[in-house]
């Protein structure tokens, strides 16, 4: 028996004897996709955030790849920072993180990008009133740990893009 899933659209198949392997190790070792970062390994810091789309959540949820065994991935579509970054140029949220000098060492950045992008896509589909935006941002990235930046610029950058998504009636790409 094997476990089938996709990573950034590429089909993957692994023997179910590897079911207890962590997704993050699979990404790093098997696929050499190292944009997803390892911080704590126990699901707290969220540096390792990727997006998983799988029934009943076809739109995707953020998951911590350090604490996700491959056995949970049957039928899942996984998107990593490498998958979400356009071939040319950047996502608006990536550009905003750059223009706002949001991060410092940048080790947390891919995790913030993944969570923020998922949030923005959700926002485009289901806008929230502007006065609830700060709270919504806090829910989206508030559990992510950044040791360097103090979060101020991350929050500002995400709010700027979120406001433009709301203003445009929603296109986060």
């Amino acid at each position: 028996m094997s476990i089938r899933f996709t990573v950034n659209g590429q089909p993957q198949e692994v023997a179910d004897t590897r079911g207890t392997d962590r997704l993050i190790d699979y990404l790093h070792d098997d696929l050499n996709l190292t944009g997803t970062k390892f911080g704590c390994g126990i699901g707290v810091c969220r540096a390792c955030t990727v997006v998983m789309a799988k029934a009943p959540n076809p739109a995707g949820t953020q998951i911590v790849s350090c604490s996700t065994p491959l056995s949970l991935l049957a039928g899942a579509e996984i998107t990593t920072i490498e998958g979400v970054t356009p071939k040319e140029g950047l996502l608006p949220i990536q550009q905003a993180f750059l223009s706002h000098f949001a991060f410092q060492c940048g080790y947390c950045a891919p995790g913030f990008v993944m969570a923020a992008q998922l949030f923005l896509e959700g926002l485009a589909a289901r806008p929230v009133p502007v006065d609830q935006l700060d709270a919504a941002i806090a829910r989206a990235i508030g559990d992510h740990i950044c040791r360097c930046s103090g979060y101020v610029r991350y929050a500002q950058a995400l709010k700027e893009v979120a406001l433009s998504v709301l203003a445009q009636g929603g296109d986060a790409t």
Partner: protein, 952 residues
């Protein structure tokens, strides 16, 4: 197989010859070792082979950054961190790699006997087990060089006199603990390795890690009898004593005394201080007693790296993210360069990666040694060592736990008379930089104030705890906490206004430090206090408090001031500024960017002189020093009269060295490039042989004749002329390589260049010619350099910072919430405003964690037990911090006021990365005092301590 590969250079690859010329050499017991610093392998990013490159369109106006130069690669998740690399990513390396796993000591009271791995499944069995007695002494217990310190000049003098070797000069043999405990011996400290396991697959290594986690004692055997580790409680030398007496026309201080007799004279002056106090019964004495637990830097990337010993080329190839490439490589040379080294190492090839955070914790980190140690045991295979977070907590350098005792004495007119402080730093296992951190705490003990008398002692001692080391603030956070809380207690006891008390005693340009060295720099502390006092967060504090009280919430306001010194007692820096044939520029620097933004700052620092920013930058290129033609050897003791001598090559990279030191070096080198190459090119192109720099200006990326006679010149035209000149009799340099030395003042000298004689605040200059050729040093003349004596001032430059904190306390559960922060910062010239405010924001968050949250007990209750991770060690998250950036009632904001630059700044910036967190913790404690009337003097001030205080 060879590790050689092309190094991304200015415009393409540097040839094999070019690479060879970039080598520097370190003398070791078994001969010279060639050291090469290599760029990151393979296309790191879609647009460039160099991860630190401004993408097209983002170069920005000269001197201005539109984004971080390293930002694009990081926001895309490109490979830039050491953890991102495996052997297969490294050109010329074998693709298969081994994996290293260290096991760590569980006690310092029983002898370690060995491992019993029979409980591991077959899939988790190591390929090889290495014990401490499987290796030579030089490997197990290498001689280390430590460079960042206060007292190095004296030690070097002593070494010179006694003819002793410099390496390891400040490390008595009793403290040269083994990196791996030998079976039969008692571990010296927790976090010390007891064995190295090597695996030939990642899966096996992970399986072993998983199976052994939280069950160490099932696999390690210790003797039943007690045999306590020796040397416990020993001092890590040097100790620091600052006794100052400056009253009644009599003066005594560390700086002014004869170094030979200083310590002998100290007791006499301490007696005079006591007599002076006794003669004034009206003086008020405020006791000082506070303590701080050790904390973890918790940089987000746990330490990781690759090493490969290539027998064919006798090369040690190493990939890692370090703050101290220079010192690390020297340590490796010491380790493998001795006669008993198990492998012959003739070359060290270092690939430095972007550290995923540092904060000092990657300065002289033992991780480098542990990684390298694995190389000779891996049967020719590359080895990867990647700590998980449990291991990082267990073994990574910590901020020192500290106990501070002392007193502050003032006259009834509020004038401070005496500060007495005793700092006991828990150095933990290895000496590392502990005594130097303690020494800086001693220097900071007088705070931002003029004090006629001081009696300060600081030391770090060896203990069983995890090793302490450099950490953002380097002893400053402990010292400022002590004095700034004592000032508030003194004020409260006397009914004085805390701002008035501070204002009455502020240090100024004419003051001296507690070490007796002159401040000699514009501080503007009074202006900062005035700004804070007039700010609504402070001015309206009673009304704000009443407003919260009306809602049943306890609110308090606290203020604290710090005057953090930055740099060391003498700093050497090196930078190259080079022009490509297309007219673009690149910068190379020995500095490391830990995230603080030095790469970006240095890339835009050339803008003023060269009319554009550097499009790319390489960091950690400390081996550039080898090409300056300079040396630190001075057999004839000529010092600056020896045209090839400098006092220091390069040192560890600290974020606080960017604003002044590194920027100066890059700018002065850019000026040399401008005056020594671009201006003469313009003279030729315009046929104006008398053209001087004041005749021209950069406008819109073009060099213009400001009198309007000549057509503007583009960078490309200038570059074409410069490159065309290379084959002629009058070649112009394509780049400049500068070395600077700062110690109270810059060393300066004349250099004869193609543009004429230049007076530069550099002590070394070399010129680049054709691509790939080594730069040619220009002999320096008429050098003026800092006097050896000024090193006794200890520090020369200061970054004042003031914080006002408004916070609420939940009396039911002890929870504290930061409501508002006002930071006032004197940063001198601001190079990149976003980076300065970013440092402040990050500093506030880190200081908040230090003050309130990061709670890590010592001994086997703490992270040494292998159970510690972010589920117990709590870091500030977004909700813990005010996020708005300007103050308004009913908002949670952190407002930063940066003083406007004055002529007194001399167009120079200040290193603020450490300063921004020094006054936050005491301001929090002072605010708590205001809120609930209790002094919390033991960090971290956890909810439990708050409740205990409330109940007392």
């Amino acid at each position: 197989m060879s590790a050689s590969r092309t190094k991304p250079g200015l415009a393409g690859a540097i040839t094999a010859d070019g690479r060879l010329s970039r080598r520097s050499f370190i003398a070791s017991a078994s001969g010279l070792i060639a050291v090469t610093v290599l760029g990151l392998p393979r296309a790191a990013s879609a647009h460039s082979t160099q991860p630190m490159t401004f993408p097209p369109g983002a170069l920005g106006k000269p001197g201005t950054a539109t984004q971080r130069i390293d930002g694009l690669a990081k926001v895309r998740g490109d490979k830039v961190f050491a953890r991102d690399y495996a052997a297969r990513d490294m050109p010329g390396w074998p693709a298969a790699q081994w994996h290293a796993l260290y096991l760590y000591a569980l006690t310092t009271d029983h002898a370690f006997l060995g491992l019993d791995l029979s409980g591991l499944t077959k899939a988790a069995q190591p390929r090889r087990i290495v014990y401490g007695d499987d290796m030579s002494k030089s490997l197990r217990s290498p001689k280390l060089v430590r460079r960042r310190d206060l007292a190095i000049d004296e030690k070097l003098q002593q070494a010179g006199q006694t003819g002793k070797q410099r390496q390891g000069f400040d490390r008595p043999t009793g403290q040269e603990f083994d990196l791996i405990v030998q079976p039969g011996a008692t571990p010296n400290y927790l976090g010390q390795a007891v064995a190295l396991l090597l695996f030939d697959s990642a899966a096996a290594c992970r399986a072993a890690q998983r199976e052994m986690r939280f069950r160490d004692s099932d696999f390690q055997a210790y003797a039943a009898d007690v045999s306590r580790s020796e040397n416990m409680g020993e001092i890590f030398p040097p100790q620091t004593t600052y006794v100052k007496y400056d009253l009644n026309g009599q003066q005594f201080s560390y700086a002014s005394a004869d170094p030979e007799n200083y310590l002998a004279e100290v007791p006499g002056w301490q007696g005079r201080i006591a007599a002076e106090i006794a003669a004034h019964p009206d003086y008020i004495t405020q006791p000082i007693a506070c303590d701080m637990q050790a904390t973890d830097p918790m940089f987000l990337e746990p330490e990781a790296g690759l090493v490969w010993y290539d027998a064919e080329t006798a090369a040690l190839n190493i990939v890692l993210g370090t703050q101290s490439p220079d010192g690390d490589v020297r340590d490796l040379a010491g380790m493998f360069g001795s006669a008993d080294s198990p492998v012959k190492v003739e070359a060290i090839n270092l690939t430095p990666c972007s550290p995923g955070g540092g904060f000092g914790g990657r300065d002289s980190s033992p991780f480098t040694l542990m990684l390298a140690l694995a190389a000779p045991f891996a049967e020719g295979n590359p080895v990867r060592l990647a700590l998980d977070r449990f291991e990082q907590f267990r073994t990574g350098l910590k901020r020192h736990g500290t106990i501070v005792k002392g007193a502050l004495t003032a006259a009834p007119d509020m004038s401070l008379k005496l500060v007495e402080m005793n700092f006991a730093f828990d150095g933990g296992g290895r000496k590392n930089l502990s005594p130097y951190c303690a020494a800086l705490a001693a220097l900071c003990a007088g705070g931002a104030y003029q004090l006629p008398m001081a009696n300060i002692f600081a030391e770090a001692r060896h203990s069983q705890n995890i090793s302490g080391g450099s950490q953002r603030g380097f002893g400053g956070p402990q010292a400022y906490f002590a004095i700034e809380t004592a000032l508030d207690d003194l004020a409260a006891g006397q009914g004085w206004d805390p701002v008035a008390l501070r204002r009455a005693n502020l240090a100024t340009e004419t003051s001296t430090t507690v070490a007796g060295g002159p401040i000699a720099q514009e501080l503007r502390l009074a202006e900062m206090l005035d700004l804070a006092a007039a700010h609504p967060l402070w001015r309206d504090r009673a009304a704000i408090k009443a407003g919260f009280a009306a809602r049943g919430i306890s609110y308090g306001t606290g203020l604290a001031l710090s005057l953090q010194a930055y740099g060391t007692s003498g700093d050497g820096m090196v930078a190259a500024v080079r022009m490509a044939p297309d007219g673009s520029f690149s910068v190379q620097s020995d500095a490391v960017d830990m995230g603080n933004g030095s790469a970006t700052t240095l890339a835009v620092a050339i803008g003023e002189y060269l009319g554009t920013n550097a499009s790319s930058i390489e960091m950690a290129d400390y081996d550039l020093f080898g090409q300056t033609g300079l040396t630190t050897d001075d057999p004839e003791k000529q010092r600056w009269a020896n045209p090839r001598w400098t006092a220091k090559s390069t040192g560890s990279s600290s974020a606080c060295l960017t604003g002044l030191h590194q920027v100066h070096t890059v700018k002065e080198t850019a000026r040399a490039m401008f005056e020594g190459s671009i201006l003469p090119a313009a003279r030729r192109l315009w046929q104006l042989p008398d053209l001087v720099s004041s005749d021209v200006a950069w406008v819109g990326g073009l060099l213009v004749d400001i009198r309007g006679f000549m057509p503007p010149l583009s960078h490309r035209q200038l570059a074409q002329d410069i490159y065309a000149s290379l084959g002629t009799d009058t070649p112009l340099p394509t780049g400049a390589l500068g070395h600077a030395y700062f110690q109270s003042d810059w060393a300066e000298a004349d250099f004869d260049t193609a543009g004429g004689r230049l007076r530069l605040r550099l002590d070394g200059l070399a010129c680049y010619g054709a691509e790939g050729a080594a730069p040619k040093p220009i002999p320096r003349q008429n050098t003026i350099g800092p006097d050896a004596l000024t090193t006794r001032y200890s520090r020369y430059v200061w970054a004042p910072c003031l914080n006002v904190i408004g916070l609420t306390v939940d009396r039911a559960n002890g929870r504290v919430e930061l409501q508002n922060v006002l930071s006032v910062l004197n940063a001198g010239r601001i190079h990149v405003p976003e980076l300065v405010s970013g440092q402040s924001q990050g500093g506030i968050a880190m200081a908040l964690g230090y003050a309130l949250m990061e709670d890590m007990p010592e001994g086997m209750e703490g992270p040494a037990n292998g159970l510690w991770n972010l589920n117990r060690y709590h870091l500030p998250r977004m909700a813990d911090l005010p996020l708005a950036t300007s103050y308004a009632p009913d908002l949670r904001a952190q407002e930063l006021v940066v003083l406007k630059e004055t002529p007194g700044d001399g167009r120079a910036g200040r290193g603020i990365a450490e300063a921004v967190m020094c006054s936050v913790a005491p301001a929090i404690s002072n605010a708590l005092f205001d809120a609930v009337g209790r002094r919390y003097a033991s960090l971290p001030i956890t909810p439990q301590k708050i409740l205990q205080g409330l109940a007392s």
